[in-house]
Amino acid sequence: MAQADRYTELINTPIGKLVQKQVGLPAPVPLKRFSPGDAVADGRVLLGGAPGGRLARPLAKLVAEIGAEASTPLREDLRAAAAEAGLDAGPWTPAAAASQRYGAVVFDATGITEPAQLEELHAFFGPTIRRVKRCGRLVVLGTTPEAASTPSEQIAQRALEGFTRAAAKELKAGATGQLVYVAPGAEDQLASTLRFLLSSKSAYVDGQVIRVSAAGIVPTIDWSQPLAGKVALVTGASRGIGAAIAATLARDGAHVVGLDVPALEGDLKAVTGAIGGSALTADITADDAPSTIAAYLKREHGGVDVVVHNAGITRDKTLGRMDEARWNSVIQVNLGALQRITDALIAGRRRAVLNENGRIVCVSSIAGIAGNFGQTNYATSKAGVIGVVDAYAPLLARQKATINAVAPGFIETQMTAKIPFATREAGRRMNSLSQGGLPVDVAEAIAYFASPASTGVTGNTVRVCGQSLLGA
């Protein structure tokens, strides 16, 4: 897939670099992607925070756990937090930045309770943003604005979004920037989110906001096999993004049940066969499909832990020329079936097919956020998927399950390879990383939501779009 992006290859040759600089062309760098055994953070982690923040301890603990080299400013609370966590943190002051490069720069902004204190962001990131390494990470952690205790705090915390998105655009060479809103009481829920954002698993996630809420106890897991012993259903698993999702969940230890239409049985079995999963064929729009799927999962596996609603189709036409069949089939496959299957899997509360601590992950689309010419049907369905997440998150919380969505931007697949050259190039380059993503980038985000440690991560729609200009 990456082969298709000849421009990125060319621009990274010596001559290409020369031309790119002279002409001022976009300069995408090949993004570092995760391979098993990689360290979570690729380089030293600089840990800062506004005075009075509440996340220094969990952050220090996490950085100690991932075994990263670390530095913190010489402020008493941060140094004490590092000491308590057993984090061997080197000292840091703004004057020290010049000689050091950072794999990640992380800032606890929860101490900011009024707009004037936003200056802390400037003071910390001003001297450090240009020290972020190639494919490095910038992460700001704040308090969920709606959970703030005063209007001033809510305003200041809401402001973090603008800062982080703008800083993400200033980061160079494949580095990304994100904001994590941590609800009060959710300080113990951070590990899966930070591990994802700091690692190369989030290579194509940029300029995003993730909300972490208070939830039950986070189980202790083997981070190299987070889904060990879990059963995962992936719809539309026979190719493209679906195949990558199946492979990634299998890598994380899950037994994957791949589902696709009978016509693609051959492709599907090739995918599931390679990862030791099982194949299930069904037309998800059929009336009996939800009950068939639920029964199969109950019978074969006693239930399901992770459900990935990936199956989707496009039937593009401008609205005036779109026939009823195009409209209906897209809504049915992308939204209607998704909701009905979800209902079938969560029905019965305690006896539901979806096991306790279940994870539902939907695949939305950037078109569902920004809209797209010729895709009124598709955009409607994908915005509806976000609606499913919003509506079901509180319902699922009662049975200790979560639901989230990923919204892919331009992903290099067979589907996007067919887009005409000019449109394709525009789609690829119009984002902060100046390139398209890979199916695995979507799959990694899904695997993060699917992790048993993502207990407090629900109701999110995270774009996997390299901070696309569309709908931003």
Binding site: L74, R79, A82, A83, D88, P91, A96
Partner: protein, 425 residues
């Protein structure tokens, strides 16, 4: 052999005033200077013709012909020619390590008395020929016939004639010591003001020590120099603030003022058992209690080049059941003001003390009024191997003067090493 270790007395010391590089001592060799310091010590304590257990010293910058520098100095001195001697080298830790070695032998009863110290010249520095020329000369030397001996010279090119002076950089990082410390100091947030303040106090304290005659029985004039040449009693914070940074780039905080200058000089210390001292009618100034040497991995960037003493001190404290605050005087060698301040800051830092030193909490801060009370290297200068002797003699006398007490010595060294010691009186 006696049973069990014996107390080791620091009986006294003698040094020559330290000179600035390429100045008063430009023509003096290491051997000249060390012999002068040694003879001063012999004169002060009446050791003419005395056979001592040993003399141990060294120089950091040394000519290859000076392979037996200390022994040659002994032979040139008024000590008995039967006094054995040997050289050691541990960069700026040389002097204190030499003292530690002599003290250990006295403690064990292997010897009763000895002299330790060090010397360095940055003026009369050894200059080597370049590697290419060296190979040519060696090949010529190996030739048997005249023709064989001349042939290698055909390879000689003009650039081969450029000399290779001693390098002032760490071989493994290519960075000078000052650049290393600039990084460490910046990380620890050491300000220009704090460094200049420490420098100012060093000059004030050393000047005051000379004024009240403190150095009269520690320093012997040499080649027309009576006091350390680098000492500037009239310097002020304003003058120091005007100096340009020399390390750490344009925004650096380290200047020629708050970094030690290259200097020339020699220092010696006389150590002995209590019995030996009383047999010779000598009164110990203090006792050498313990020493510890540490090294850090500065190559992979995990620790600052000059931070080893920060590790050595807590190990030595633990062994002696002491806290950092249990001292009446502190002698932290001022290689750079920034080094002293970084070390003190690290000891106050909970993260450093728990994760790197493995302690339960910070060592804490010290009373700055007890630090380098008679001046240190920023004012006196720092002829590398001579510094240990200067500090031990000076601290021993200061402890004796105040009628007792405990003193801590900390000396950082190139190669990421550090030597520290405790004296008691």
């Amino acid at each position: 052999m006696t049973a069990g270790p014996r107390r080791v007395a620091v009986i006294g010391g003698n040094r020559i005033p330290f000179a600035r590089s390429n100045s008063k001592y430009a023509k003096a060799s290491n051997q000249d200077m060390f012999t002068a310091a040694l003879d001063g010590l012999v004169a002060r304590f009446g050791l003419e013709g005395e056979r001592l257990g040993e003399v141990v010293a060294g120089a950091v910058l040394k000519h290859s012909r000076d392979f037996n520098l200390t022994r040659e100095s002994v032979l040139g001195s008024r000590l008995s020619a039967e006094t054995p001697a040997y050289d050691i080298q541990q960069a700026c830790g040389t002097g204190l390590q030499a003292i530690n070695l002599v003290a250990a032998k006295i403690a064990l009863g292997q010897i009763d008395a000895g002299v330790a110290g060090g010397v360095d010249t940055t003026s009369d520095a050894p200059i080597a020929v370049g590697e290419d020329l060296r190979q040519i000369l060696l090949d010529a030397n190996r030739g048997r016939s005249t023709q064989d001996k001349l042939k290698p010279f055909l390879r000689l090119r003009p650039q081969h004639l450029a000399p290779a002076p001693p390098r002032n950089e760490e071989p493994r990082t290519g960075l000078s010591m000052g650049e290393h410390q600039a990084r460490t100091g910046a990380e620890w947030g050491i300000t220009r003001e704090a460094q200049d303040e420490l420098t100012y106090r060093s000059h004030q304290n050393l000047a005051a020590a000379y004024e009240r005659g403190f150095n009269a029985d520690l320093v012997t004039p040499y080649l027309g120099l009576e006091r350390d040449q680098n000492l500037r009693p009239d310097t002020s914070l304003e003058k120091l603030a005007k100096l340009k940074p020399v390390f750490g780039g344009k925004s650096g905080t380290m200047t020629a003022g708050n970094s030690t200058p290259l200097s020339d000089g020699a220092a010696t210390v006389l150590l002995g058992s209590e019995e030996w001292a009383s047999a010779h009618g000598l009164t110990p100034l203090a006792f050498f209690v313990d020493a510890e040497t540490a090294a850090v991995d500065y190559v992979n960037g995990r620790e600052g080049l000059l931070m080893a003493p920060a590790y050595a001190v807590p190990r030595m404290l633990a062994r002696n059941g002491l806290r950092l605050q249990d001292f009446d005087l502190y002698e932290i060698h001022e290689a750079f003001a920034s080094q002293v301040l970084s070390t003190l800051k690290a000891w106050e830092d909970p993260a450093f003390c728990t994760t790197r030193l493995g302690l339960d909490g910070p060592l804490g801060s010290i009373d700055r009024d007890k630090l380098n009370v008679n001046g240190s290297s920023l004012a006196a200068g720092h002829p590398f191997a001579a510094t240990g002797g200067r500090i031990v003699a000076s601290l021993a006398k200061a402890l004796h003067e105040r009628g007792g007490g405990r003193g801590l010595i900390s000396i950082c060294a190139a190669g990421g090493q550090g030597v520290v010691a405790i004296l008691e009186a």
